[in-house]
Amino acid sequence: MQESRRIILKGAGALALLAAWPKALLAAAWPKKAFLSTDDGQALSALLGTDQTTRSDEITLILPEIAENGAVVPVTVGTTLENVESISIVVEKNPRPLAATFEIMPGVFPNISSRIKMAETSRVMAVVKTDTGIYSASKDVKVTLGGCA
């Protein structure tokens, strides 16, 4: 009796440790489930816990209207929102919509440029997570020559 109680207690301790684990590792782990998801909503849910975002005029998403080469599409996401925690880029019609997610530490300007691949003409969404919520802005990009994404 005594013995089994010990085991249960030990188990509970281990569980508590496991529960505390993901938070500590959050910055370190690559969000595999979100990146492998083939649906943009599911990718966002896996990454941020919800696929509901609030449209915001305070996010600027700079992308070409027509991308001649889908393999290299320059993208800049900037925002005047405060306390930004992450910026993610989602290409709705890519086979795996989540392209990249940038974790913004305090002191970093929430304004990032990079280059992404687009398989075909699609809407591109920038998702900004702040301490108050999840905001987004999107833009349609015509792709002349699809880049394997």
Binding site: A27, W30, P31, F35, A71, V72, V73, V91, N94, P95, R96, L98, A99, A100, T101, F102, E103, I104, M105, G107, V108, F109, N111, I112, S113, S114, R115, I116, K117, M118, G147, C148, A149
Partner: protein, 104 residues
């Protein structure tokens, strides 16, 4: 081996601008080798980290949908001359690289 990380930094006041280019194929796993007709295995950077004096300022997580030879440009506050900025990446096949540069 020469490092495959290129980095360019510019300090103005306490703000550092970082421009970095990583030479990496970023294979999607869907492309066929034109010579053999076989699929080229998925090979892409998963995580790219910038740390200033050992403290992470930016962690970028990538899928295969980031272009070949990923490029990133951002700025951060709280930098000063003499700080060491370290860039490091890991890919899905266990590859990795890192480079340190001193801000000036």
């Amino acid at each position: 081996m020469a490092s495959k990380i290129k980095i360019n930094t510019r300090l103005s006041g306490d703000v550092a601008e970082v421009k970095s280019l990583i030479l990496h194929p970023m294979e999607t796993g869907a492309r066929k080798d034109p010579d053999t007709g076989e699929l080229v295995p998925r090979h892409h950077i998963t995580q790219l980290t910038f740390a200033n004096n050992g403290e992470a300022v930016m962690v970028a997580n990538f899928s295969t949908a980031v272009s070949r030879n990923p490029y990133i440009n951002f700025r951060f506050r709280g930098a000063k001359a003499g700080d060491t900025l370290k860039v490091s990446w890991v890919d899905n096949l266990g590859g990795s690289d890192e480079l340190e540069t001193v801000l000036s």
